[in-house]
Symmetry: C2
Subunit: 326 residues, 2 copies
């Protein structure tokens, strides 16, 4: 029930995923609303499992309070199903804070994890860079960033199929001595660990693909991804305004259409469908509020891959090895 | 002698500024190199004061060490001149860290200032937003952010001519409860101060012009501006690559040229020439390493305005009033 185009686009995405993959999605939300969309999209309404959850966490609500006081909300019910082992993963396009709170409070942390971290996939000249944490925690300690590094490395390797992923730490200069105390302490831990440490990475280094995983505290990481998103929006919004005021530019923009489209395709969040909340005791994928059916299909694929790759046990294994060496 | 196009573009900018404004620039650097450029650009070489400084701080050098061990470097000599009252301000397009170190170590802090902060002007839908600190300090306390707020407000008002500037704090959500402890503590101080507090500002809010001044710790601020800069570079770099591969797009880009040019003009750092290091006991303006003569002209104008506006005493006055009320 979460996201700007729920339940229609969510249900349509699930229908498509069921047709084209081995996944058997369970739909969680208002039964009547879901039924109505299913009826239009799929002949076999009776084949679907629908978990009725009449309540919704609205965008303005306080995440933890909402999860605690709304046991019948769709997001809380998703977490309950995952905790009970009735589903292998859950995907949400709604209130990110509420989804994280439900995952942490209900599903709980994976073995050995102190702090779960929210990951994001960022465009780079090569394969996408995974940044973690981009907002699950407002405050972090070096040990948490070391955990993020291990979890990000496992995700890149097992779910995204990246060979021997490297790990860097987000900083304000590539020199070893630059950065705040969190960065400097984390660097020491990473250099002493069994992970492939790529050093300090600046925002430009993310785009240049200098590391497969970049760790940071959730405040800096959230500023990072929001600065990237809003800069792109601002730049192309301003360009659009300039074009609107000029006849020749309008024609030019028309001729450039395929280039703009390709740029958008390459930087479109929908291709990844969603990003994982790593470190909880189950597979939790969070999508963008503006997700259409295509992003839902991708999100369900990501969830399926993470389950098949045994993401959670692999993280727990890796963390126990990491604790020994760090 | 600092910056990618020194000394040529620096000297040419100074010549232009001297012709068009009331400023009397003093040129600090290698006398022979400066002389050679001056001779080509100005008939009255003898009218200029040149301070011979044979040494240079290179980009890779450690800032504090370089300033301490190179008394004959151009940047150190600039700071000496300002400290001695022989100039009213200095402008540097070189090693930002070295310029900040020279200013803090030689010129010292203004009365009442615990930590100087580096400002940046960011594009917004209205007049530019001043972000501070964007990298002078890797670590900050709430009191420092309060100082940044006052100094940014004074700069917006006295130097940029903004009426009744508002001040926000950079955060990861507009809600009062969101953010790390530094943000939450700073919010309390700002709300209790005599400044016009605009609340929490996300990166998107900067572009939307939600506050005239946005304060942050130097780590987050540096990530913010570098993420903005590198996102714009990446997006337009990728677009250029797409256009190169397509004939029609090439024609389209040609027709859109004036729109692209206008966008670049509106987001060009050169229009501001440089940004102030606020809180030192003198006017210090730092420009972009890629500055051409036009940016140098703007930088000198900014410095002149800051001097005429009595920036430093106004900050000291403001801080003593702020200490009383906060």
């Amino acid at each position: 029930m979460g996201g700007d185009f729920a339940p229609d686009e969510i249900v349509l995405g699930a229908v498509e995923a069921r047709r084209t993959s081995g996944a058997a999605p369970v739909l969680v939300g208002d039964r009547e609303a879901i039924d109505a969309v299913l009826r239009r999209a799929d002949d076999n309404v009776n084949d679907w499992r629908i978990e009725h959850a009449p309540d919704v966490v609205a965008m303005g609500e306080h995440a933890v309070t909402a999860v605690r006081t709304k046991p019948d909300s769709s997001i809380r019910r998703c977490a309950d199903l995952l905790k009970a082992g009735e589903v292998d993963a859950f995907l949400s396009m709604g209130h990110t804070g509420a989804a994280m709170a439900a995952a942490v409070l209900v599903v709980g942390r994976a073995a050995g994890v102190e702090r779960p971290g929210l990951a994001a996939l960022l465009p780079s000249s090569g394969s996408p860079t995974l940044a973690i944490d981009v907002g699950a925690n407002a405050e972090s300690r070096p040990r948490h960033l070391l955990e993020f590094a291990l979890m990000g490395q496992v995700y890149q390797q097992r779910v995204l199929g990246r060979d021997a992923p490297t790990v860097g730490v987000l900083s304000i200069g590539e020199e070893d001595a630059k950065g705040n105390s969190l960065v400097l302490e984390t660097s020491k831990l990473l250099a002493a660990s069994n992970l492939a440490f790529a050093g300090h990475i600046e925002p430009r280094g993310i785009f240049a693909g200098e590391a497969d995983v970049v760790v940071c505290d959730g405040f800096a990481g959230n500023i990072l991804i929001k600065a990237m998103e809003s800069t792109a929006e601002y730049a192309f919004g301003e360009l659009r305004a300039q074009v609107k005021a000029r006849r020749l530019s309008q024609l030019g923009a028309l001729l450039m259409r395929s280039s703009f489209r390709e740029l958008r395709r390459r930087t479109d969040y929908a291709q990844w469908g969603g990003v994982p909340l790593l470190g909880v005791n189950g597979v939790v994928i969070l999508g963008h509020g503006r997700s259409h059916a295509r992003a839902v299909v991708s999100g369900l694929q990501v969830a399926e891959q993470a389950v098949r790759a045994a993401l959670v046990p692999t993280i727990a294994d890796g963390l126990s090895g990491l604790t020994a060496s760090a």
